[in-house]
């Protein structure tokens, strides 16, 4: 019941905000949507706590039948287990805080902003449907729903061409991954005869030996399903090769970047892998793919983040990189740690985005860090919460990120095998880069002398309370969530918390190996983090000539990073231009010249023979009779000949 309240109140809020907007104005919409979100958040937290302490049992709320065709049955149903409840609590709470923050952030808009509140409430509904789905098709409903709202919100400022382009890009890139996801769903049904999670998971062990013919080889079917679903997750979670949409998505308003493109939607892929853990555990190759992609993304995105000058783009690439960590954890079989990092990341990353929003707000819309600097004493609250956020992101002890990121790296190190070690090495390298770009942002934005235009400098002001209060709450979360959930979410007693919602096979639990990591090895992630901090201090405070010197000395490397490894250029040349060129070719040559060439010739012949000024009606009857007789004669002949 609590779950149903948490899921459907945001839908109500979206409807109210949309309906009230025009007649009653922005304020009514804001109040309606925020009240609904508060109810949802309270219900969500209550459900998670009650489930956590064992006061209520995991269960399913069956709503109604959705699709039936032959043996194919899918229901609308809400699943209430620990994994769902944790996600519901996090999503509804972060969303509620961001609703409140947006009241302040959107106050300077020229146009009415009720549309915005309706959208983010609807987004929250779709996200909650995703995490509470009881079958994978309903999960896909939420999946596409959040994709749609992401599209609409990236393109919220519809008069900006860049925003429109970014919105379409996000949708299309996600759809490419979704195609594989859908085929995976179809394969799941084909193999298991059901799409309900409980039924699939119960049947997984008996399907472990099944094979499926593909690419001329016989592959274990669970591996094929695992890889297909993971490709879907790569799209939504912006992993390597599918990441290009996420930085562009920063065209949307900043609260959106915090809510959708940091805390919730982009983590849906991680959630999917964790949700499918009972199946993924039987698909070791697929898990290796997850680990390799995750590790590669964590490193790759961190390198780009070091060379970007747009404050939001840095944080966007940082999100990519952190999602890579989560996949690396899932890939070595530590699904609980993966979700733990998802939760801590939700707090500190939405804090960082909202903090960046507060900076942008103070700077009259400026996002380029090269035109900032010296802000620390002008916007002190923002400055201090940003410190908290970056400390958590960089994994400095005892902030949230420290607990989850360390656990990921320990799990990777503790798991035997080359893939896990690869994930560890990339993860440690990324940890250094993370700390470096974190303090690069802090120093460039808040320290040194101001490089802004004079009229911008005059306007610099701290944000109103409606924005700073959510920031402070998120900062508190970023500071304590890791510590307070550490022993519950992960560790030896993980199973008493997660119950059956996450499955880790006894033999493959990395935690059994993690305990053996001692001494200096244990502190390597923290040490490289501090080294990254020190490097940033050296580069941007002590000897500020170094970055420029490096950029000119290693010019190709610098350009390679600034250009984001040229992914956009390559994709544009191959896919975008290629598709448009192919489209014109098929149309102008295929349709117009070839296919229409023949009938048009015939049409010209017949119209000529019947004269130009034949009246419509008589013309048609003549045509009709003539063609019919002709056809019958020819075809009777053909038929009799070949009979």
């Amino acid at each position: 019941m609590l779950t149903a309240i948490a899921v459907f109140f945001p839908l109500l809020g979206a409807a109210l905000a949309g309906l009230l907007g025009r007649p009653a104005g922005d304020r009514a919409s804001q109040v309606a949507s925020i009240l609904c979100m508060i109810v949802a958040s309270a219900a969500g937290i209550a459900a998670a706590v009650l489930l956590g302490i064992g006061a209520i049992e995991p269960g399913t709320i069956e709503i109604t039948n959705w699709i039936s065709a032959g043996t194919f049955h899918v229901s609308w149903a809400l699943r209430n287990d620990t994994l769902s409840a944790v996600m519901v609590a996090m999503v509804s709470t972060v969303s509620m805080l961001i609703h409140v923050y947006s009241v302040g952030y959107m106050a300077h808009e020229d146009r009415p902003c009720w549309r915005f509140f309706s959208y983010i409430s609807l987004f929250s509904f779709a996200m909650l449907m995703l995490v509470t789905a009881d079958n994978i098709l309903q999960l896909f409903f939420g999946w596409e729903g959040v994709g749609l709202m992401s599209y609409l919100l990236i393109g919220y400022w519809y008069y900006k061409p860049a925003a429109n382009a970014a919105a379409i890009k996000a949708f299309v890139v996600n759809r490419v991954a979704d195609l594989f996801f859908t085929v995976g769903i179809a394969l799941l049904f084909f193999q298991f005869g059901t799409l309900s999670f409980s039924d699939i998971f119960a049947a997984v062990p008996s399907h472990a030996a099944r094979h499926y013919e593909l690419f001329g080889a016989s592959l274990p079917v669970l591996e094929v399903i695992g890889v297909l679903l993971f490709i879907g997750a790569m799209g939504k979670s912006a992993q390597l090769f599918f990441h290009t949409w996420l930085p562009d998505a920063m065209e949307g308003p900043t609260p959106i970047s915090a809510l959708i493109h940091a805390a919730t939607m982009v983590t849906a892929g991680v959630f999917l892998v964790a949700r499918m853990s009972p199946l993924m555990e039987y698909a070791p190759i697929a898990l290796s793919v997850v680990a390799v992609i995750g590790g590669s993304t964590s490193f790759f995105a961190a390198t780009i983040a070091c060379a970007q000058d747009d404050i939001k783009k840095v944080i966007a690439y940082s999100t990519c990189s952190q999602l890579g960590y989560m996949f690396a954890a899932a890939g070595v079989g530590a699904f609980d740690i993966s979700i733990f990092h998802l939760i801590t990341h939700a707090f500190f990353k939405s804090l960082l985005f909202l903090g960046a929003g507060s900076v942008i707000h103070a700077m009259s819309g400026e996002q380029d860090m090269r035109r900032m600097g010296g802000l620390w004493n002008k916007i002190p609250i923002t400055y201090s919460v940003m410190w908290v956020g970056f400390l958590a992101l960089a994994g400095i002890p005892f902030f949230s990120g420290f607990y989850s990121k360390d656990a990921i790296l320990d799990a990777a190190l503790g798991t035997p095998g080359g893939v896990a070690f690869y994930a560890y090495i990339t993860g440690v390298a990324a940890a250094f880069l993370t700390a470096f770009y974190s303090w690069r942002v802090l120093f460039m934005t808040f320290h040194g002398t101001s490089r802004a235009e004079p009229h911008v400098q005059e306007h610099v002001h701290e944000s109103p309370a409606v924005m700073t209060v959510p920031l402070i709450l998120l900062a508190v979360g970023s500071a304590i969530v890791g510590y307070s959930l550490d022993g519950t979410f992960i560790g030896l007693h993980w199973q008493s918390f997660w119950g059956a919602s996450i499955v880790i096979l006894p033999g493959s639990n990395p935690f059994t190996h993690m305990e053996s990591i001692h001494g200096v090895v244990k502190w390597i992630p923290t040490l490289v983090g501090l080294a990254g901090l020190a490097t940033a201090l050296l580069f941007y405070i002590l000897v500020p000539r170094i970055p420029d010197w490096l950029a000119t000395r290693f010019r190709p490397v610098h350009i390679f990073l600034v250009k984001k490894w040229y992914f956009d250029e390559i994709y544009d040349a191959i896919f975008v231009r290629g598709a448009l060129a192919l489209a014109r070719l098929l149309w102008k040559v295929g349709d117009v010249a070839v296919i229409d060439g023949v009938p048009n010739g015939i049409a010209t012949l017949t119209t000529d023979s019947s004269g130009e000024v034949v009246k419509l009606q008589t013309g048609s009857v003549a045509q009709y009779a003539f063609a019919m007789v002709l056809g019958v004669v020819i075809l009777v002949a053909v038929f009799l000949l070949f009979r």
């Binding site: 039936s68 393109g155 179809a186 063609a627 019958v632 038929f639 070949f642």
Partner: protein, 507 residues
Amino acid sequence: MNAAGFPILSLVTWLPLVGGAIILSIRGDAEAVARNARWAALWTSLIVFGLSLVLWVKFNPSDPGFQFVENVPWMPEYGLTYHLGVDGISVLFVLLSTALTPICVLASWEIIKYQVREYMLAFLILETMMVGTFCSLDFIIFYMFFEGTLIPMYLIIGVWGGPRRIYSAFKFFLFTLAGSVLLLLAILAVWYQTGTMDIATLLHTKLPASMQIWLFLAFLASFAVKLPMWPVHTWLPDAHVEAPTAGSVMLAGVLLKFGGYGFLRFSVPLLPVASATLAPLMFALGVMAVIYTSFVALAQDDMKKLIAYSSVAHMGLVTIGTFTFNEQGLQGAMFQMLSHGVVSAALFLCVGVVYDRLHTHEIDRFGGLIDRMPFYALILMFFSLASVGLPGTSGFVGEILVMIGALQVNFWLALLGGTGMILSVGYMLYMYRRVIFGTIVHAELKNFLDLSPREVAVFAPLVVLTLWMGIYPSSFTSFWAASIGQIVQNHQMAMLHGVHLAGMLAR
């Protein structure tokens, strides 16, 4: 005599013609004639729709056979009967036809200014022909109705169409006729072979395998043009571009379904061996339609052409689903047709809204409409998303069922058939962006008004239907579940018994 207690199918079929006769008898000055013709057409179509709802209520979904049957000897010496009836496959198409007709009348209310009486008459005749096609259980009667739709549609495009209407009308007529002639020949061959034209009887008749292939190809020639399938689809974009809005609605909403209906009603049950033998060909054509026409849609500069090409791609999925011969695929094909009937009709109506205001559907002439027409922007967004198959809308259900059906046949069929998922997002959102988003640059758009109450009345039922079909599709799938189940079962039986037939074929 049947569940309704009166000859309901005959009434629904012929009542529009009675309304047409009334319209013809209207006298007076031109203004009064036009006004009265509109109202008469609206009332006729609404009454017919109301009557057809009896089918919705009284239809027994658990019975896979024909219901509401009327059977009167017509030419007994030739074995021809006036035989009407609906089963799960046809009943919702009857309702689709009767539901779209009043919407078409409403959509043409102000924009048709000359020869209003004849225009309304054409639509009522069209309705009779469409309903008759779906109801008839005699092959000859079916053919007469099936071909009969050509005439009113030809006139609607040719008389009330755009500047190149004559070319388009001829093209439409010639393409469809060329195919239909082969269908007629095939029907005559069946008659010669079996001595009956009764469809209910024919469904239990076994035809020799060698003949099945020929018949299948002849049926295909007709249904492929109607559907339309690649590569005989090129008449469709031209016909749509020139047709008046309501003509496009009927064309996309109902007439295209004749092809898929033909496959489900005749090709698959009547010619099981040929269907199974030629299924790979059909899959190839279906996948080709999805990929090829989706790409072509990407390059279009005309809203109507773009939606027309997207229709071909959507119908490609129908082809794929039909020839999977499993329940998911067949039900998916049915659902896809029904959903497309609603969504593409709505999309053409959306184009009609701006066409009425600017008399063009070139994409570049628009831009930034969201500032002037926010409600219209919402409606167009909604139907664009339904068209790309967003879960929660009707488009998704058909698409996912077809993919699930296709995967049981072949992995690549599902993957390639699914590429429409990606491409459709590309072309629909690209069009939406150019028409709705951005800022207004063309001065003539600055005084556009948002949807009028009449236009809202046109769209409201379609929005409700699209959501209903997306969220609770069981209301619709339950109608055809039994009939589809029987087709699948019969097909499997025929395949078992058909082993020796296939052997004959090989010889």
